[in-house]
Symmetry: C2
């Protein structure tokens, strides 16, 4: 099988550099099955070595010309063999094996480039986590599978039955034809509801076709030749600087019912509550660094909306800009401004045709897309300060060979000019926040996660 | 301070690519001090965080233009600050924490690129090693400090006194002026006796000046325009292929007295015994893969010899080619051929002037030097199959804050066309072999280490 890359997938290879790495990842936390030994992951690895399971598409695909990533004829070919000892790895946490050590280890793993001479994915079995837990970190390059689909494939390989001990690993699960081969350029994401920032970028780019066309179109937008709505100008902020090679990842998980109660009290949505939590956290972090802009930070939020002209009832991919009201010290006023801002932005989008939604989204995303153009990266004034996405997941508990999945955190892609990404996955009643950032541009990024936890309590006190 | 790189140091930046990484490393194994807790390394890290010690030259130097490695005006500048939490890291071994898991972890660490935006070194404190041990892995880019000097600086930071618990880490030890700044081009290595392959490469290259001159000179040599002694042609072998990004490292430590007894019985030197061990191991490894050439493998062995015309009694850097007699199944005949071969090669070198020794060495090294030239890499017939070096170390026990150093293994640089490097360090009565190779070109490389241990017993039975 040989399959050309779609222009939107190829884009993630174009951008790849020493500092920008277009892989996404999932960090899954499990509780060990009852009556198992702390090193039970070792047996899993021994089994893989002695009796290698099959590796199904797309996990057996590699690039045809890995030494020439920008080859316009780049395509996916089946690898002659997949060396599972390379792709599946054991890692251990230094003592005391707490969340902090886990954060350090996965931050390092996320800062290593994918080897394009092999199928571009890695699975890390992480032992030594406290409270009888272990973790799985799965990394996949966005040119092979988008983060949304990857998360779905991962989740599909888990079981709802705690007694099911035979479940194959995700790469050994045959996929239905539609996800088997890397996707075609498409206009809408696979499912409505939520999508990652990179998908939005790719979808919008696909609309514009190949790279040169995009850049031409975007130049027009930026120079004002295009007469679309001008987006709000975001304030300058330390988040919007060039990035280094190093990553920092931090997590927080909050009860969805508590977030919903806040949303209800503020007359907003669950997403508004997520934005309010993120806002409070960012405000404290920036204040601590004496770097809070006087103007409110602007978040870019990917949404799926029903377009005015879509008779079929399908969803269009859109992006809205929301004020995070970070200039407001009062949490009540802050969430009220956020709710008003997202409502207004969504109304604006709903009045548009499908084509207009895409053009408008392209306008918002233009600066990020230009970050992949050499010489421009990290030197454009941002139209937004941070991307905050929310990807819905399963609402019931899942198991991997008897081990209960406790949380599922998404890790995304910082780029020049966007040193922080906040993505959330919902899982079994909890909202799992993943803060992925550049370790050097945003020192002590893990405080964002701590502050997010404290923001929930603060918001409850203020609005309930 | 700003300091231009010497041409020989700059060479290691020229060659840096996705697959070729010009960093060297040391893997030091320690026994935990008595009455200490398994996680005592954690306190060391906590101390570094709460009260960062000074970082002395050269460990505080970074490249002036890290984004343009090949800048002809490249130089070292003092970093504004050195982020010790980046450079000093904790790592843990998965269960059961044996030599195999240690080998896997350090192989991965050795396969990651150095970040040139910072001083190009890393120190990893490795816990979870069995038998109350821990390990330290120190990586440094060869453009900053050569492997020989790095090993000396590391060893200097250790103590001969087991009660000395205050010893600073190597980067906090002020260095005498001569090693403070990265070295000037020089004609001889810092000390006679042993030197790493990269030093020899650098020294020979320094003699020829800048890169273009070297390439011109080497082309003459290769095309036969230069009338120097033609080296023996090495047979084609799987060792001499292109490499990937992944590394595999394996170790073996053998008693020096046993090696010396074999050398005496065979009428050779300690170095001959090292070659005989390496030969037996390579022979078995290649036989197992059905890839043993009919002709004997040729080793390149860096040596320091007294030149005919050097009145000052100084040493010249030289390279000899030795037959490893891998075609011989009889270990007695094999070591006899090795002894005869090295004796002949050294005699040849000793009859030369200093200039001739350098020219001859350049001839031998030409193929390796050309590996850094794009388009040529990995496509030249080798004049030798493998580099085997021996670097003498201290003969007495050393301690790090009460922890006894048990072994000190050197990790070197595989390049295209030379997928394996064997380097030995002597320490406290033992010869520590480090086998550094490309994981993909030489699968199951760790068997070389196992076979080396068995070769010692076989040789003893045969010659004693």
């Amino acid at each position: 099988m040989t399959k050309r890359l779609s222009p939107s997938d190829a884009m993630f290879l174009y951008g790849e550099s020493k500092e920008m790495m277009f892989h996404v990842a999932g960090l899954l936390l499990f509780t060990r099955p009852p009556r198992t030994h702390p090193d039970h992951l070792r047996h899993l690895m021994d089994d893989l070595r002695s009796d290698p399971p099959p590796v199904h598409s797309p996990w057996n695909l590699r690039l045809r010309t890995p030494d020439l990533l920008r080859n316009p004829l780049q395509s996916w070919v089946e690898a002659d063999s997949v060396d599972l000892e390379y792709h599946v790895r054991r890692t251990a946490l230094p003592s005391p094996g707490d969340e902090r050590e886990l954060g350090i280890v996965v931050s390092r793993l996320h800062g290593h480039h994918i080897d394009f001479h092999r199928p571009p994915w890695e699975l890390h079995l992480i032992e030594g986590l406290d409270r009888e837990r272990f973790a799985i970190y799965v990394k996949v390059h966005h040119a092979l599978v988008d983060g949304f689909t990857a998360m779905r494939l991962l989740v599909n390989a888990l079981s709802t039955d705690p007694e099911d001990r035979e479940r194959p690993l995700f790469f050994s699960v045959p996929q239905p034809e539609r996800v088997r081969a890397p996707r075609e350029p498409r206009e809408a994401p696979p499912e409505p509801g939520g999508l990652h920032f990179p998908e939005l970028l790719a979808t919008v780019r696909a609309q514009y076709g190949a790279t040169k066309t995009v850049i031409r179109a975007l130049r027009k937008v930026i120079t004002g030749e295009d007469d679309l709505v001008t987006p709000r100008q975001a304030p300058r902020c330390i988040i919007n600087a060039r990035i280094s090679r190093s990553r920092r990842f931090a997590t927080q998980s909050l009860e969805i019912d508590r977030l919903k109660a806040i949303a209800r009290a503020a007359g907003g949505t669950l997403n508004d509550a997520i934005l309010a939590i993120s806002s409070a956290s960012l405000r404290r972090y920036l204040l601590e660094r004496d770097a809070l802009p006087a103007e409110p930070l602007i978040a870019m939020v990917p949404v799926a909306v029903r377009a005015k002209d879509d008779a079929g009832g399908g969803n269009a991919v859109g992006a809205i800009l929301a004020s995070l009201a970070t200039h407001q010290s009062d949490p009540v006023k802050r969430i009220a401004e956020i709710v008003a801002s997202t409502r207004h932005a969504k109304q604006q989008l709903q009045g548009m045709s499908k084509a207009a939604i895409l053009s408008y989204s392209a306008l918002l995303l233009a600066p990020s897309m230009l970050q992949t153009v050499p010489g421009i990266a990290g030197r454009i004034k941002p139209t937004y300060n941070v991307v905050i996405s929310n990807v819905p997941g399963p609402d019931h508990s899942l198991y991997f060979r008897g081990a209960k999945l406790e949380a599922s955190y998404p890790m995304s892609i910082p780029i020049h000019g966007q040193a922080l990404n906040i993505t959330c996955n919902s899982y079994a009643g909890r909202m799992c926040f993943g803060f992925t950032g550049c370790r050097d541009t945003l020192p002590h990024l893990q405080r964002l996660a701590v502050f997010a936890g404290e923001a929930l309590v603060e918001l409850e006190r203020a609005v309930l």
